[in-house]
């Protein structure tokens, strides 16, 4: 009896393992894909790049775009350590600089910004604490969550806060902007400083409170074809799509601003 049970568990695990989806999308057509394009992108680009991935695969049948999303600093480090990436889109120029410094960019493919992202105050839906400005975040009893100063959104937040002359004691300093957003979305924090694109992505649970100082300092998102890209021409086509009218429209629809 016990052996039968063990066998059943093993079979179950094998079946589950076999059912696991391949990374990257196989699209509704499920057609045979012969080339892969590996794109490393900052976490804040999740929704927009997923859409770009679909569009690119539609327009380039036979190409499978593999999207690797994560904190820009993490991705830059992976690239520095040799992770295979064809394209890198990061949330700030410092992390792009680190990646290019380590691995280099492809010749004939200049590294350029393709979008900017401004910060906004994210509040739980309905704005229960009636926040209307940066200064409100410093009110006593307010639970505010920020990105840690070591990550792009945190650096930006600190610059804005000091430009506005507001000093906050954060309840938590998260490692990435998604964590900040999530804590506000579930109501654990009264407010958080996140990108405008992040509020768009969680529109059901979050409201955005814009503030005038936001346009003072923004993050520029650069995109690069890496020197060791397997097919620089194809990678270049992806980058062109991102920078072209299709990509820019998609990015704008997700809350980014375009240069």
């Amino acid at each position: 009896m016990r052996n039968v049970r063990i066998a059943l568990v093993v079979v179950l695990l094998l079946v589950l393992g076999a059912c696991g989806t391949r990374s990257g999308s196989s699209g509704p057509t499920g057609g045979e894909r012969t080339a892969t394009l590996t794109v490393f992108a900052a976490a804040s680009l999740r929704e927009s790049f997923q859409e770009l991935e679909r569009r690119f695969e539609q327009e380039n049948p036979g190409v499978d775009v593999l999207l690797n999303l994560g904190g820009s600093a993490d991705l830059a480090q992976q690239i520095s350590e040799g992770a295979p990436a064809d394209v890198f889109a990061s949330a700030d120029e410092a992390t792009m600089g680190a990646a290019i410094h380590a691995r280099g960019s492809a010749p004939d493919h200049p590294v350029e910004p393709f979008a900017t992202n401004a910060l906004t105050i994210a509040v739980p839906e309905g704005n229960p604490k009636k926040i209307s400005s940066l200064a409100d975040l410093a009110a006593p009893g307010m639970t505010v969550v920020l990105c840690a100063p070591q990550v792009p959104c945190g650096k930006l937040a600190r610059r804005l806060l000091s430009a506005a002359g507001v000093s906050i004691e954060a309840a938590s300093e998260e490692n990435d902007v998604t964590s900040v957003r999530d804590k506000v979305a579930i109501g654990e924090a009264d407010a958080g400083l996140v990108y405008k694109s992040d509020v768009r992505a969680e529109a059901a649970r979050l409201d955005a409170v814009d503030f005038p100082e936001a346009s003072l300092v923004v993050n520029k998102y650069p995109i690069a074809v890496l020197r060791e890209a397997r097919d620089p021409a194809m990678a270049g086509r992806f980058v062109s799509m991102v920078k072209g009218p299709v990509g820019q429209e998609i990015l704008r629809s997700h809350g980014f601003q375009t240069p």
């Binding site: 480090q77 840690a148 070591q150 109501g187 654990e188």
Partner: protein, 249 residues
Amino acid sequence: MLWIPAALGLALVALPIIGLISRVDPARLPEELTSPAALDALWLSVRTSAAATGLCLLLGLPLAVCLARVPRTRLLRAVVLLPMVMPPVVGGLALLYLLGRNGLLGQWLYLGFGLRVPFTAVAVVLAQAFVALPFLVISVEGALRTLGDQYERTAATLGAPPGWTFRRVTVPLLTPALGSGLLLTFARALGEFGATIVFAGSVQGRTRTLPLEIYLRRESDVGAATALSLLLIVVALVVVLIARPRGRM
């Protein structure tokens, strides 16, 4: 011939650590290890892990005894072991949904007493205890099953009350298992990251334990993170070496 897989097993653990140590820049060690952020993180880690281990002992030992001695507790045992198989981040979310401001219990605490659990050092201890408790329970329960209950029954037939039996018979028999169990528990609590950052957040001196500090530093300064990792390894080694299990193990 056993030595071949044994050596491979040792290599699997030792070589990556040696790789880590080889990347440490000795020139940076003194300033990195004595920076306020590192010291705050270290002190917080040691305090919270010790508290979490204490909590696990207080709650885990009785739990293990009950699981081992009470019949038909297989399902309960499976539940107790869940934190071991859950990704710690999911554990953190679970704690948040229970004790957060809008949580099942948390909303009572908040609305009734103005008590807020997330973002405090208490939350750190709870997160660590959550992930580490199964380790203590498994160690002790395993030993209890092996020992059997004949000693307790003998004591009972000789007229000993249950409390006395527990203190003077059961616990001394469990000392070796308890020792190694507590060690595992402390080590797990010390290394805890995912549940801590999700449930307790991360603020220097209050909730940013050493693993959180290391993970944060890697975002901007991998060298510093590597140096701090060395610190964590040294602390873990010291604990393991000091707390050698006594008895015939």
